[in-house]
């Protein structure tokens, strides 16, 4: 009922903890403040990994949904995995938006700009929020798994179209963009290392949370089945466990 062997999950948990502690030290003290942006730039060590994982998590959801729909690979494993990854994806997308906003205020002077990447990310957030809402509606497990898998694939197909239309919208109507290439062209060695380390540490965290969320989903299903079983047994007036 677990996604990964239990010792591996535990090891991932330990690695996550160690990684986040190390990242805190690297990000707050070891890496120098940015020449132009000052300490605000340190938010990038969180913003960049959350953004990467947001996209990666939705990719995993799409992949798992496709495997769920493919008759030869159909299994409740994929459904649970898709759901777990989508939940993490929505969390990371939300974090990306909030962290980006916190960074944008001191650097750009505004909480929000209608930049193509920001708008796409915001749409992404709602796209998968809808998917999660759909997942929460109970029903026959097989029908539900198929339904949500199709919804996940539709959402995934829609993402590039949204991104494309938003990019077009902004470039046709607005000169230039807030992303100044000169600001990001040069990254100092320690800073680059910290950034890559942050991406790695967060990816390990994602895997750990994914495994844990998967376990939880499996337990939830088990309990639901047990409750249903008990309710049926009660209805037919037999003691629980007598029928099997």
């Amino acid at each position: 009922m677990t996604l990964l062997p239990r010792p591996l999950t535990t090891a991932l948990g330990g690695l996550t903890l160690a990684g986040l502690v190390t990242l805190t030290i690297l990000g707050l003290w070891v890496a120098p403040p940015d020449a132009i942006q000052g300490d605000a730039q340190r938010l990038m060590y969180l913003h960049v990994p959350t953004a990467w994982l947001a996209y990666f998590a939705f990719f995993v959801t799409a992949l798992a949904s496709a495997l769920e729909l493919w008759p030869r690979t159909r299994s409740p494993v994929w459904d649970r995995l898709a759901g777990a990854s989508a939940e993490l994806g929505v969390m990371f997308t939300g974090l990306t938006l909030v962290l980006g906003s916190l960074w944008g205020r001191p650097i750009w002077g505004v909480w929000w700009v209608w930049d193509a990447r920001l708008v796409t990310t915001a749409v992404l957030f709602f796209l998968y929020l809808g998917y999660l809402a759909l997942r929460r509606i109970p029903g026959d497990p097989d029908a539900r798994a198929k339904r949500v898998a199709i919804a996940a694939l539709i959402a995934f197909v829609d993402v590039p179209i949204v991104h494309f239309s938003v990019t077009w919208w902004r470039t046709l109507h607005q000169e230039g963009t807030v992303f100044n290439p000169e600001l990001s062209a040069q990254i100092e060695g320690t800073m680059a290392f910290t950034l890559w380390f942050a991406v790695l540490a967060f990816t390990v965290m994602y895997l750990y949370l994914l495994a844990k969320r998967y376990e939880l989903a499996a337990l939830e299903e088990e309990r639901e089945d047990a409750e249903l079983e008990a309710a049926i047994a009660e209805r037919i007036g037999e003691p629980v466990g007598a029928r099997s």
Partner: protein
């Protein structure tokens, strides 16, 4: 029976029900119109804001009304478990999808015709180049109707369907709002050349959503 013939039967059935029940005419159309009025109340009509924003407001009103039309398209199936009859009819699911989409499409086009008169009269919008305007509207509406019907069948028979459909449809339909609004703006501004890329985007969206719908409708309808 050919795909087109089956689709025609389904859409004719839906439109016949609509002709008798008059929900689109008596409720959805007035809803769209009152949204146009509300925009005018919310924004200052004297400062030219309304005219400038008219294309966007028009399409927001259409999207909101479309949600009701989709909801209605599936309400008529769940009444008296009519959907079981449809399932047992042996019609190709792709044809059922096309038929239901066409029925919503026709209702939305009528709604848009009325709302267009609304924005011209109330918001003082000059329509400009007609070609790209009409084609953009047609492509956008196909996209909205197809997306709506896909999510309609996806959520058919579920509890909380009414509140779920808007949350699912609106984010997916954002490219339509972008495309249709920009194409309308370009036409209104007398720059039809700028409208064509958006018309192409809308046509691509319409094609993709229709294809997805034809493929997904069968598996989705089975377990409805």
């Amino acid at each position: 029976m050919s795909l087109a013939r089956s689709a025609w039967l389904v859409s004719a059935k839906d439109l016949r029900i609509e002709r008798r029940a008059k929900v689109a005419l008596g409720q959805i159309l007035p809803f769209g119109a009152i949204v146009l009025l509300l925009f005018a109340f919310a924004l200052d009509p004297d400062r030219g804001v309304l005219t400038r924003a008219a294309p966007g407001l028009f399409w927001v009103a259409v999207l909101l009304a479309a949600l009701l039309a989709v909801s209605r398209a599936f309400a008529i199936e769940s009444e008296n478990a009519a959907v079981d009859g449809l399932r047992l009819s042996g019609l190709d699911p792709a044809a059922i999808f096309l038929g239901k989409t066409a029925a919503v499409l026709i209702q939305l086009l009528l709604l848009e015709a009325v709302l267009t008169v609304g924005v011209v009269v109330l918001y003082d919008l000059p329509l400009g180049a007609f070609g790209p305007l009409v084609l953009a509207t047609l492509a956008a509406t196909v996209g909205i109707a197809a997306t709506g019907i896909v999510y309609g069948v996806l959520t058919a028979g579920l509890r909380l369907r009414e509140t779920l459909v808007p949350l699912l449809v609106l984010p997916v339909a954002t490219p339509v709002l972008f495309g249709a609004t920009r194409a309308w703006e370009a036409s209104v501004d007398g720059a039809p050349a700028e409208a064509w890329p958006w018309v192409a985007l809308l046509a691509a969206f319409a094609l993709i959503s229709t294809t997805v719908g034809m493929l997904a409708y069968g598996p989705l309808m089975e377990d409805g």
